[in-house]
């Protein structure tokens, strides 16, 4: 039997999802052809705002790679537009002169951005925010222009505005209504949102209607109806979308707002269907992903000849994808005479929740600040749940029970892809899944917007229990199955003293370990037995063995200690002389306020150190590195505390301390935080009469803001709490785990509990003092040891 010809017009999320569903139900039944206007494979349009915001890249939002089309025998014509449908002869015509017959035709042409017909709307620098091209246009504009105006304070407009801020532009948002996102939020939430976004740097013009886009060739500004005007060199129109129905209409398919379809997504023309944003079902046109996917499923079942009830309309929910702002909205949100509401406004945490109830049933919800409950509320509202059911589930949540535990099997976890709790749990059990990634691959859950990832993770815990924990446990390295905690426990219990002994006794799979476990074990041994453990130079990475930083050409860099980043004329002179004498390749200031001498030959290192006569700056180690300071009260007119003095004390106390990973600190004398303590492992901020100690910040690979550990009054207390924190980190973190990961993993509250306990803090300080007591200045130690000089720094020349 010849295969039926199935043609899809529109290579986007809704259409391709329909094809995926059909392939699942009836593989190999159809000859599938796809026409797509854009020259890309199917990508996740929802994530475009994240691309614009710089959180991800275009290549990462592709949903179906070219390979997928090939693997499934789909003929794809990217960049080709269908211009005419001959419904009587079931033929298609394209702009490239192609003629294609069809047995089934799916129209999934999506929608077009609605462009206000303003005078000047055709000027250069006016764009919509709909596809990759628009996105690239904005990114390009941001390189040459400064001022952006976004017309429309709805979901799309705000996401675009946030993206433009990230691109370094000044952003004005012009909105017709008197508060933001008025279709999804109530006034209270809208105003909270505005406050938050204003603090991020957005500027708002509310109740303003744009009358004209001004400028010659390129836009230079906007004029408002009330006479006002603002300058702008980029205008983004984000006032809404309209279904793309032109092709259908011209071809004689019934069109109202969208292409009119029944519950089976059939149009009035036989064998022509429509799904997605271009379709109108029961007088509703949807612009969000979840309904589109539900429509796709219904159509797939229908085309595959399966009996089913069809598409029944969708309850909508939206989530704003702007970093640092959590907003969720679903169902009916406007209060009327018949509705009652549950409202919780927490001014302290800046969270707001409103749940609307009508005839004892939940009908809608708005969440601001904390949107964890969103998925749960959406599924309750979808099934028309009674308010009692919600309140009961609340109690469970208050008892620390996971929100997924109280969900029933048919409740939806992933709203975008319509994946229920039951489906995920079944898949976890049947397919033996053990990670969020695997669940994503097998069920599609969390594949689109990604906000349900933590629910999926909780379901894994809920379903697999300890097994899931076991699967996520990480062994030290491939040489052993034991975790960091297990190894440390064994070291203590069995009194192991040497890396080789640890490997033997704990039955390492390799004879002498590897470059991961050797330094890790050496660190753990030193941490457990600070006095007894003899540091193993052969278990140290070259930088720590040689006390200098290896460079790509095999030379080394030398960073002398400069406590708190404070130096003096005599030291500078010495450094200059040394640099000249040894002809260093480059003299560079480091990020930690130090002077770096680069390009020193290994054989010269000892002489350089000797001539410098300064302690090692430890710029190479998994250890306390530098304490960066601001000028402080001594000179700065804003300074409230002696930040340099505090920084020097901290650095003198903790210098050379071995830690699981490098530890950087900063001390500032006022909230301006010039020493950037917000992105340091330990950041200290002096206020009038108070010191704040922040921990777990990182300015590197994964940007993380430090969290407040404690506020104290005196410098002694800063030292005491910092010591307690560092010692606790030393004793509990995995080797090569930065404080940012560690604090994120255990939670700052946990660390606070520990260091605020007087007894524990005292003990941690005692153990810290023991560790610090073993410190020997390494450069000097090398200079005093003939053997070390010979073993490590001499090169053998032969004749």
């Amino acid at each position: 039997m010849e295969k039926k010809k199935l043609v899809l017009i529109g290579n986007g999320m809704a259409g391709i999802r329909t094809i995926e569903e059909i392939l699942k139900l009836l593989p190999d039944q159809f000859d599938i052809t796809v026409f797509g206007k854009e020259p890309y494979p199917n990508y996740n349009r929802i994530q475009l705002s994240k691309v614009l915001q710089g959180d991800t890249e275009i290549k990462d939002i592709t949903l179906n790679e070219w390979q997928w089309y090939e693997d499934n025998g789909i003929l794809l014509y990217p960049g080709e537009t269908v211009t005419k449908i001959d419904k009587d002869n079931q033929m298609l015509y394209t702009d490239k002169g192609k003629e294609t017959p069809y047995d089934h035709l799916i129209i999934a042409t999506g929608s077009n951005p609605f462009m206000l017909p303003l005078p000047g709307a055709d000027k250069e620098g006016v764009t919509a925010f709909r596809d990759i091209e628009d996105c690239e246009k904005m990114i390009d504009a941001s390189k040459n222009y400064k001022r952006a105006a976004v017309i429309g304070g709805g979901l799309l407009g705000l996401e675009a505005a946030r993206g433009l801020l990230n691109l370094g532009m000044e952003v004005d948002v012009i909105h017709l209504a008197d508060y933001l996102m008025e279709r999804q939020l109530d006034r209270a939430a809208g105003e909270l949102l505005q406050k938050e976004l204003a603090s991020q740097g957005m500027n708002f013009y509310l109740e303003k209607q744009t009358a004209e886009i001004t400028g010659k060739k390129r836009v230079t500004g906007l004029k408002f109806k009330d006479g006002g005007a603002i300058p702008a060199d980029l205008v983004v129109m984000a006032v809404g979308i309209k279904p793309n129905v032109a092709l259908a209409q011209e071809s004689g398919v019934e069109v109202n707002k969208g292409i009119v379809v029944n519950d089976h997504m059939e149009t009035n023309v036989p064998n022509i269907y429509a799904v997605g944003e271009c379709a109108e079902h029961d007088q509703m046109v949807y612009g969000l992903v979840a309904p589109l996917y539900e429509q796709g499923q219904a159509l797939a079942k229908h085309i595959s000849g399966m009996n089913h009830q069809g598409y029944q309309g969708s309850v909508l929910s939206t989530q704003l994808k702007v970093s640092g702002v959590d907003v969720f909205s679903t169902g009916l949100i406007n209060e009327t005479a018949e509705t009652k509401s549950i409202k919780v406004f927490d001014e302290w945490q800046n969270t707001y929740k409103k749940i609307l109830v009508q005839d004892d049933k939940l009908t809608g919800a708005v969440l601001f600040g904390d949107t964890k409950e969103g998925t749960k509320l959406l599924s309750l509202i979808k099934k028309g749940a009674n308010v009692e059911e919600y309140l009961e589930s609340q109690q469970g949540a208050d008892n620390g029970e996971s929100i997924v535990t109280s969900m029933s099997d048919d409740e939806i976890i992933c709203g975008c892809n319509g994946v229920s709790k039951g489906a995920i749990v079944n898949s976890i059990k049947a397919d033996g899944l053990s990670s969020v990634e695997e669940v994503k691959g097998a069920t599609n859950a969390s594949r689109s917007c990604g906000t349900c990832k933590n629910l999926v993770s909780e379901l894994l815990t809920d379903t697999l229990g300890d097994e899931y924990e076991a699967d996520t446990k990480e062994s030290v390295c491939a040489c052993t199955d034991l975790t960091r905690d297990e190894v440390v426990a064994e070291i203590k219990e069995k009194g192991l003293t040497h890396t080789k002994e640890v490997m033997n006794v704990l039955e390492w799979k390799t004879e002498e370990g590897c470059s991961k476990c050797k330094p890790a074990l050496n660190y753990y041994l030193g941490m457990v037995y600070p006095k007894e453990h003899e540091d193993e130079r052969e278990s140290r990475f070259v930088n720590e063995r040689l006390h200098a930083n290896i460079q790509k050409d095999g030379t080394y860099s030398v960073v002398p200690r400069m406590y708190g980043g404070v130096t003096n004329a005599s030291d500078l002179r010495t450094i200059a002389d040394v640099a000249e004498k040894y002809e260093v390749g480059m003299i560079k200031l480091t990020g930690g306020q130090r002077i770096d001498l680069l390009g020193v030959k290994k054989e010269d290192l000892p002489d350089v150190w000797k001539d410098l006569g300064m302690p090692s700056g430890y710029a190479y180690g998994k250890s306390v590195r530098t304490v960066k300071t601001c000028v402080g009260a001594e000179f700065c007119r804003f300074g409230t505390q002696d930040s340099t003095g505090m920084g020097i004390q901290l650095e003198k106390k903790f210098e050379g301390l071995n830690t699981p990973h490098k530890v950087k600190m900063g001390v500032s004398a006022c909230p301006r935080n010039c020493a950037e303590g917000g992105v340091k492992d330990v950041g200290v901020v002096g206020l009038d009469g108070v010191w704040e100690v922040y921990v777990g910040g990182n300015g590197g690979t994964e940007l993380r803001q430090a969290e407040l550990l404690v506020k104290v009054k005196s410098e002694e207390e800063v030292l005491e709490y910092t010591a307690a924190f560092l010692q606790y980190y030393r004793e509990n973190a995995s080797y090569l785990e930065r404080t940012s990961h560690y604090v994120e993993r255990v939670g700052v509250e946990h660390v606070q509990e520990i260091v605020n306990d007087d007894q524990l803090r005292k003990e941690l300080n005692e153990r810290m003092d023991q560790a610090l007591g073993t410190y020997k200045e390494p450069w000097n130690e090398v200079l005093e040891s003939e053997t070390t000089l010979k073993d490590l720094y001499e090169k053998v020349a032969t004749k």
Binding site: E512, E538, L792, K795, V796
Partner: protein, 108 residues
């Protein structure tokens, strides 16, 4: 044609640090000599095939050295780079006579 080799003395066996490498300059090339924990002496070209890292400064585990630049793992006996990377370095035969260590290099 048979390749003739020259034996170059590089020093006392006891002077080589255990489980570490040592850079040895022979004519115009640099050789990394390792004294393994089992007592054997191995010699390879002192240059990682990846980005030219100084292998004599790498961490030594058993028969392998880990390049200090990007952690490539190289067998010091046969010179082969271990998976997932691949490639190889030149190896040199070593001998110990009267507590003196010799490396055999091709005669020019």
């Amino acid at each position: 044609m048979e390749q003739t080799v020259r034996k170059v003395r590089i020093g006392n066996y006891d002077d080589l640090p255990v489980s570490l490498g040592k850079a040895v300059v022979v004519e115009d090339k640099e050789i990394a000599v390792f004294r393994l924990s089992n007592g054997n002496i191995k010699a390879i070209e002192n240059k990682c095939p990846h980005r030219g890292g100084v292998l004599s400064e790498g961490m030594v585990s058993g028969e392998h050295v880990f390049c200090p630049l990007h952690d490539w793992k190289i067998n010091v006996s046969d010179g082969l780079v271990q998976a997932p990377d691949d490639g190889c370095v030149q190896t040199y035969k070593t001998t110990i006579e009267d507590n003196q260590v010799y490396v055999e290099v091709p005669e020019k």
